[in-house]
């Protein structure tokens, strides 16, 4: 059997890649994609723990998490779209109307 550690390391690597994306990307859509990566790594963790502890709640939480990710993607996309309508770009460096 594969040790649990492998899955955790895999998930932390995917999470780090997502994190790097969050920190370095300037394009709104790419930011959203990086967030999806991070969410997925969290889900891998949940499912891995669920399987290795023989406890089904982890998988139920994964389902919830997937549904919430869908909601989050929809909202993020809607915001990007409305910003794009207003400004004709989605470079988040230039979206600073809420900034002081």
């Amino acid at each position: 059997m594969i040790p649990l550690t492998y899955y955790l390391i895999l998930s932390s690597i995917v999470f780090t890649i997502g994190l790097y994306g969050i920190m370095s990307q300037r394009n709104g859509v790419r930011l959203l994609m990086s967030v999806e990566l991070m969410l997925n790594s969290a889900n891998i963790n949940l499912v891995a723990f669920s399987s290795y502890n023989d406890d089904m709640s982890g998988q139920v939480f994964t389902l919830f998490s997937i549904a919430l990710a869908a909601a989050e993607a929809i909202i993020g996309f809607a915001i990007l779209l409305s910003i794009f309508r207003m400004r004709d770009m989605i470079n988040i460096d230039d979206i600073n109307i809420l900034r002081w």
Binding site: I2, Y7, G18, Q25, V29, R30, L37, A69, F77, I90
Partner: protein, 94 residues
């Protein structure tokens, strides 16, 4: 004993394969120059994560992952890319 070992090795190989896929394509997501390419890599990443779920004996979650993530969010992100890219904008919306 031997059989178990072989099964274990097979599992390990599968895991190595799927996790390599996941990592390579998720790196592509953040490094690819073209946004469309990045979003397609994201979809591949999501599919391989579904593979990991299956390896973890969570087949149902794997199915849901493919249905919702790949089918729903993947398409949504592709749409987002199409709708918010300047070059492709002409006449697509409005």
């Amino acid at each position: 004993m031997m059989a178990v070992d072989i099964a274990g090795i097979g599992e390990l190989i599968m895991f190595a394969l799927v996790s390599t896929l996941t990592i390579i394509f998720s790196i592509l997501v953040v490094t690819a120059k073209d946004v469309v390419r990045a979003s397609l890599s994201l979809i591949v990443t999501l599919v391989s994560v579904a593979g990991i779920y299956v390896l973890l004996n969570a087949q149902f979650i794997g199915m849901v992952q493919i249905l919702i993530y790949v089918g729903g969010i993947g398409v949504l992100i592709l749409f987002a890319v199409m709708l918010t890219t300047q070059e492709l904008k002409g006449g697509s919306d409005d």
